[in-house]
Subunit: 249 residues, 6 copies
């Protein structure tokens, strides 16, 4: 069930059986020579479709823009400052909590979001802990889950790409988007084959360290076929994780 | 050209011919008994596809969540507080300006966004006017355009729906989403046929005044056919408006 | 009744008969070669005197500084950033609501305030809609009314100034301040007679487009006589509008 | 010279001879049984007229609303939160600095503003000290001056009112407003004659400690005559202080 | 009793006998040629030890970083912007108020904190006054006390240092830290013997006026012996002041 | 070298040989029946002493209050909201960067700080990436290092405490503070011996899940002896990590 394609009466009916909602969250940022700028938003959106089919959960619209300050040296990258993203997450959760939602499952596609979204959860909880939230409101629970954090994705990635998987513009994420948007697949030579690795500071430092935007990966190995494998492997794990979160006492 | 499906090198190439970008912006809020919660985000997204086809412009990911505090009495509605939405718009524009974009065309689907997004433009300009922006950056220009503000939409709406068009959950916007998502069309009886009209204050006042969420409309008249008419009529006007903004000296 | 010249006991007595307050809001910004920097604050203040005489309403002190970032290229102009003005409006309304005021009528003198003040109202309402306001507080209602939005002003302006009325440093607003402050009238030659028109972006762009600060007007036609006409014409309309807002069920 | 009644060209001319501006700042808050709610804004505004006549300085519009949270238990009182007032002061100064003003003399009428306005100055200076201000901008200097801080006012107050002067709703400030607005003078019996004294915390505590709003004063002794004395005594001192600040190397 | 070295059960037990807590607050900023960067944090921390011994009060961890923007021209100086420090003070007090603390005694070591911390108290109180705090929470009371504001310190300083005491990097504060950290005493020639005096604006202006960081002082006169005198003299006064605040009805 | 006990001239001298500074950061929050409220601040402070001795690095004052909203159900716990802590970290780093520091090593004692401090680093970098930082400033590098993240601590903890180590109020951290403050060691019976484990949401949920404040640990096993082992084991690893960060090209 997709929030964007439902009426408010249908949401009311959903709330009678579940207080949990799935919110895909990603980023809009460069993903190297053959990855889409939208990779990190498209991946959790694709996975969310599988989870929705498996569980019937309500899927909110994707939060497509995340914390990507380090990518601003490459055209097309967009960032929210961490404090902006915290405000967005708080407003979204507080809005849905008004209707009776209590459990907020953020299916994440971008490592760079983890710290900020986790901080946003604390900002939210702190409203209650400091006595600023409606005292009659049930306690809220939020969870951030990266789509690649499950045995299936780890295994397939290792088998298919090994050391070429990398850390940004990974073979797996590019594969998943090629599976989702096969008509938009790109070809690009990679030089060097495997990109360098290292730390992340600001965007001009990032561009110097990683001239074509990749970190540690060779996404020319990506394919829609492996993307399908990843999808088929990950969805049951993510669906189970969602259910466990939604149903926990 | 869609930002989410492009590489950063493709965005670089685009920038050599244009400094303008189209950003659909909407809202996630109740739209009465047969309108989608996502109506106001889906409408500019649908129109953006037409404009993209007509002009080849770069389309950023849709900002799906807007200022909808007055709808929070109905399940599924999500709002950003105005100050949050201002921060989001500023961050998005400042990010894209880093790459050389200078003209930002927000194609809007939600009347409730107009004031806040316009205020956000002033917040952005004020950075330059108060000497807080990089003095070497070219002056930025932003434009908010409602998809229904053109002769074609006004005419078709008048012809097809007359006084039943209304002000929220309008026949036109519901029609356009039925055209975009025909398999998700809803049927719902409307009682009274035409919803009441009046002012907007907070969400509990709104729910009292407009018990099923509509304002002044009878969207049971909506249809995918009229949605197509609206699309075919509006796209040339919106494309021309975009071009005029992008090309103005 | 003027808040600044009343005691708190007199305000208490007022509250027994009315929950509505009139708040003049303007701007401090250049108004071309013969207009006062304070034009946009003085105009609603002048009109407020008429409305007070007609209705006995409580008039708060004028908020003299508004959102005027685009005028910062001209000496004397002062702006609040939109986020600052939002905070001001929220604090003013929340303070007065503490005493039992429920209806807040902002009589506005500056087009550049409209978006931001409207966004501020939504920020205020959102506190209630998101459950952050005292649940025992009655619902608040705010209204922004431009002093020139009534049939009388439109008619007189058309008759007296026609196409020379313009959009900034208008003949009407300059006339009204000349009526209010006749001893301070200025003479200045206008070249060209009628100023150019166009869009508004940041302050350096504004100064380039509108070198003497006027937009589309020839305020050398302004006079205290027409100012009196405007005052006499507008006050009954504004008083009626205030009463309707104050008394609406 | 009054900013509100000047043109931008006149301000330009002023800047050729002085970089200093006088900004009256006050508060809108209860002042006991016979004091105006606007006392703290009217007093510096009245004094500013004298200083303007003596020095020809440019006088900005009065910032009528200050930090008055402790008075919110009495009808008509309005507060800006300290963080809001800091934003206002920063925006006002940064705007005027854009035009070349370098020295900002805040003539203050409200003890409750002192801490917050002083903090605002530090917030402003910190922009430069932390490297966030335009490095080409001359260093700014701000000064907060309470109108009663001079030998003349202290002497007259002591002679005329002695121990009845008090700390809030003082005989002197009420006298000064009676001098400025003689037709609005109020009579009210005071019981007890001299109000209690003590500390200041939040507004409900304040109302309990000071039931009619006065602190330590018996403003039934106030008169327009003493108001004139205070004005005549203070203006030369304040004018000298302004000149010293404006002319300091 | 020191919060950092207590368990939460011990804090619970303390709350049964007292609702007051002592919070040392200082600054991290240059203190001239022989003063520690931490002088303003170490002084109230040293004095707090004496007050704790005298009263058994609970001592919170020292807030070591304050508002010191004007010192940023000298290496090692750290500032919080005033708005940041306000947020810190509000969070600290709101946290402790959750547990039942009602009286917050800030023992201060830095003149530059006074305005901002006082503004922070108003920000806190304003939450209650504007109806944003939990209505069931008892009214909070905050007090800022400078360690040098008592007869003993004034007398000893006058006797020992006279006109050489100065305003920043004073003989007294340097003495007190030498008493507290005798093994870290520094020797440094002062030239001129007594530093200049004057106003405070931003950090580059400050460095120009006060080239070695001192204001009006000759701290080469400082000694651990006088530091002990100051400690012995001030502690009884501060302890009495704390008790009076804690026990006031 | 300790910033608090140095003069600004000594800091200047330090900067000639190193651009790196160590900043201990912790939290003030309950640590179960026998752990100090200050455990998470004291641990990195103790470790910092060892690193200072080994490397001669400059140690800033400990940031003693962190993000601990979930502990507010237990007396003595203090939290900064995440947005406040972000502001603090940004101000501290921006202040020190003014003097020429470029590398900021936060030695952390609290798991609950990790997300927020990491987000703060991104907020800082984003200033540069979005063009809001001084373009002449060298790129900044920040690192958050938990004191327990090294082989020695992991090994000793496993050997000494095994499954009783736990996740909050761990045997290791309590041991380290007992080593640092042996005279303040507490005895307390633990019931159950090993505390429950689970997720973290807001503070009332936390108190329900973890009634005495521990998570998964049995800190009655803690001892000053093991604390010394941990200190001796960890310091060389942390010193090496600091040097590697400081010296990286």
């Amino acid at each position: 069930m997709y929030l964007q394609l439902s009426t408010w009466q249908e949401v009311d009916a959903y709330l009678e059986q579940s207080k949990a909602v799935l919110i895909p969250i990603g980023s809009t940022e460069q993903h190297g020579p053959n990855g889409f700028v939208g990779t990190d938003a498209l991946c959790p959106e694709i996975m969310a479709r599988g989870v929705e089919e498996a569980t019937g959960c309500l899927v909110a619209p994707t939060l497509s823009i995340g914390m990507a300050q380090h990518h601003l040296g490459f055209s097309g990258s967009i960032t929210l400052r961490p404090t902006t993203l915290i405000a967005v997450v708080c407003d979204v959760v507080n809005s849905l909590a008004k209707h009776g939602f209590e459990r907020f499952y953020f299916l994440n596609g971008h490592g760079g979001n983890v710290a900020t979204v986790t901080a946003a959860f604390s900002e939210l909880y702190a409203e209650a802990s400091l006595g600023k939230a409606d005292p009659d409101r049930p306690a809220l629970r939020c969870r951030l889950k990266n789509w690649w954090e499950n045995e299936a994705v780890q295994r397939i990635s290792r088998q298919r790409f090994g050391a070429a998987e990398g850390g940004h513009a990974t073979c797996s994420e590019v594969s998943l988007t090629f599976y989702g948007y096969p008509q938009h697949q790109k070809n690009a030579a990679m030089s060097p084959e495997i990109a360098p690795t290292g730390p992340i500071y600001d965007s001009s430092d990032f561009r110097k360290r990683y001239p074509d935007g990749r970190m540690g990966s060779n996404p020319s190995l990506a394919s829609a076929e492996v993307g399908k494998e990843l999808f088929d492997g990950a969805v049951p794990a993510l669906a189970a994780d969602f259910r466990a979160f939604a149903d926990a006492p």
